[in-house]
């Protein structure tokens, strides 16, 4: 009871919004491209006759009215992308949720709990930190005011961006109160493909730590300034980047460390940089290990700055402890996968997801489908049609069961 062609057609149509020349797309949160994506998806919600609501941070959900006033079983994810995004990250969870509802309507299937589909604002965290911002606000885990004040990579605040694209709704924080939350997502990593497994039954999400370091040194002449007299902010930044890699190596998997952003000022070939900023993304499934990685990185950064005669400031952009999903819901997914004959394995998620923000407040869980070559946040991101179908069917199965049909 899933129309795969319709699902794929929608994924491709949404992929045209913010399409990049070489494939993939760029729909950074709350940009005009995101606005166009929101309009397209909300149009599909309305075409089905669903009740559409948008809250004060732009989260949007559509409910198929049910017989009573039980809370809805929500299927959701996000439609924003990174700057080098693919077609599936986030959109699959939203459009598969829509497909489940449309199929249920077509099949005349009624449920005790209403079915709902949602997309949340700025899940990627690529424009505004932290990631999972909209779902974090919706679930009450992140304070609305601080999030509205978050300044993006282009210096606009979330507040300004919401206004600019007209994405602010009037539903208050807490207006969405799911009976359960389910998210289908591409794995974005290599595990399922390399093991030849069809479905990932996601047990939880690893902890995430994002730190921005700003190093201040002194601009100086590249030709005349003896090495020992330099206070080179760029050198400290490079040293921190190397240490991040060393931490990942020394800790071993599942520790990962990424320097995604770096910039120097004045950024001129013959001027010793007076300022450098960089971000370090650290993740681990184990909170103690993650805190240990942070401690080592922070201590190193302080010492490196001091040795170079620079000053260092450090700002936390995101910090989420590891999250465990609802044991019963996780079991239900595994059982349903068995019933459908899909091979599956339990696994933690390497990426952050909206589901983790709901996990403390309602039974929440996730389903992964394979990513070709484990690639995501890249225009080459791809998941095969049969995997999309298995994921959507399993989502339908679990959601309908939860909703009571």
């Amino acid at each position: 009871m899933i129309d795969l062609d319709r699902l794929i057609a929608r994924i491709e149509q949404l992929g045209q919004v913010g399409a990049l020349p070489g494939g993939g797309c760029k729909r950074l949160a709350l940009t005009p491209e995101d606005a166009a994506g929101r309009a397209l998806v909300t149009g599909w919600f309305r075409d089905l006759g669903l009740d559409v609501t948008t809250d004060v941070i732009g989260n949007t959900w559509a409910i198929r009215p049910g017989p009573g006033d039980l809370p809805p079983v929500v299927m959701g994810s996000h439609i924003d992308t990174v700057a080098t995004g693919g077609l599936y990250d986030g959109t699959l969870g939203v459009l598969a949720g829509l497909e489940v509802i449309e199929s249920a309507i077509e099949a005349g299937v009624e449920t005790d709990h209403p079915l709902a589909v949602a997309f949340f604002t700025n899940e990627e965290g690529a424009r505004f930190a932290p990631d999972m911002m909209g779902s974090g606000v919706a679930a009450g885990a992140l304070p609305l005011d601080a999030m509205l004040a978050s300044r993006g990579i282009d210096d606009a605040t979330v507040d300004e961006a919401l206004t600019a694209i007209g994405a602010r709704g009037d539903a208050p924080v807490g207006a969405l109160s799911p009976a359960a939350y389910l998210e289908l997502h591409i794995e974005q990593g290599p595990v399922l493909e390399s093991e030849g497994v069809q479905i990932g039954v996601v047990t939880g999400v690893q902890g995430i730590s994002w730190t921005e370091f700003t190093v201040k040194g002194r601009s100086a002449h590249a030709g005349t300034t003896p090495m020992l007299m330099r206070r080179d902010a760029g050198h400290v930044a490079a040293a921190i980047a190397m240490e991040a890699r060393a931490i990942a190596t020394d800790f071993g998997p599942p520790q990962v460390a990424t320097v995604g952003r770096m910039s120097l000022s004045p950024d001129l070939v013959n001027v010793v940089p007076e300022r450098a900023t960089l971000t370090v993304d650290l993740r681990n499934t184990d909170e103690t290990r993650l805190a240990g990685a942070e401690a080592r990185l922070f201590a190193f950064a302080e010492a490196a700055a001091r040795d170079e005669g620079c000053t260092l400031t450090r700002r936390s952009l995101a910090r989420f402890e590891p999250v465990a999903f609802d044991a019963k819901l996780v079991d239900d997914i595994a059982t349903a996968a068995d019933r459908l004959g899909y091979s599956h394995r339990r696994m933690p998620s390497g990426a952050g997801h909206d589901a983790q923000m709901f996990a403390p407040f309602c039974p929440s869980a996730m389903i992964f489908v394979p990513s070709r070559d484990g690639i995501s946040h890249n225009i080459e991101e791809y998941t095969a049609p049969e995997d999309l179908e298995r994921g959507a069917r399993l989502l339908a199965d679990v959601a309908l069961a939860r909703a009571g049909c």
Copy 2:
């Protein structure tokens, strides 16, 4: 016969053009600020009744007509600055040259060779590579066409920028043919100040090598991509930056190495960078050592890229071998300093200068005055009035003697 107040007033007035909020100034080559600086200085040239000429790359010189048609003794430097520039780098050489001519006119001193003062386009190399571009073209050492096609940090070409600010003149390459070239400049380094010496008699300029590296890897998800599967262009860039520092340390003085520019793409906190560019500025007074530093850096960069599964391209932005100034002119400067009672020492220049471009074609030399704390390419750049005066007097002495008076 130098009016120090007039000289300082002009330095300060020119320093108002492109003034930065905290002091210092930003007059990147061929920007509107540079245009305003050119207009101001050219106005002073004309006020003195000098013959002003501008050539096809914007170099501008002013000649005090002499009795016959001997070639001029040229005093020159540049008026462009880096983005965090001070008030003295370049401007001192130009405005002291102007002061020497004005004082000579006032004193009624006639010379056999005409006296001339010049400023050359894009000496800093901060907007367009290479540095010493205008003087290199004027002296016939750099090809005009390639220089006009050079693309700046803002993507405009020299050709476009010349047109945009109307700085292109009609004098052809080679129109300026000095009998001798003399340049007064701040040291921009710590040697004179730390040794308590008043004048640097510059024997030559160290070799300069500027390389831009572009690393291409693969964008990937920061949370899901195992460390061993990454092709992280940013990691390679950081490793190259660390190696540049290690080369300077291992080679020891006078080897210096600077990473002035670095940028990552897509430059997002949770995306492994797919592209990184960085520049490395290497300098040494010894050509063999400089070539050795380049060889080690290039080999390291290739290996680092290969180890990370990335590709590397490398582009030379500037390459100048060490230059020796004219022995007789250097001796003349030392002798004149003795006569004036100024303490002095011979020293190589750490920075590149327009004088080095003329050195192969006519007797050329330079005079340094101390820089406070050795700081330059920084808004704190400062040279005390008495040092400015000594430098200008010595310049006058040597220039008038050369010109025959």
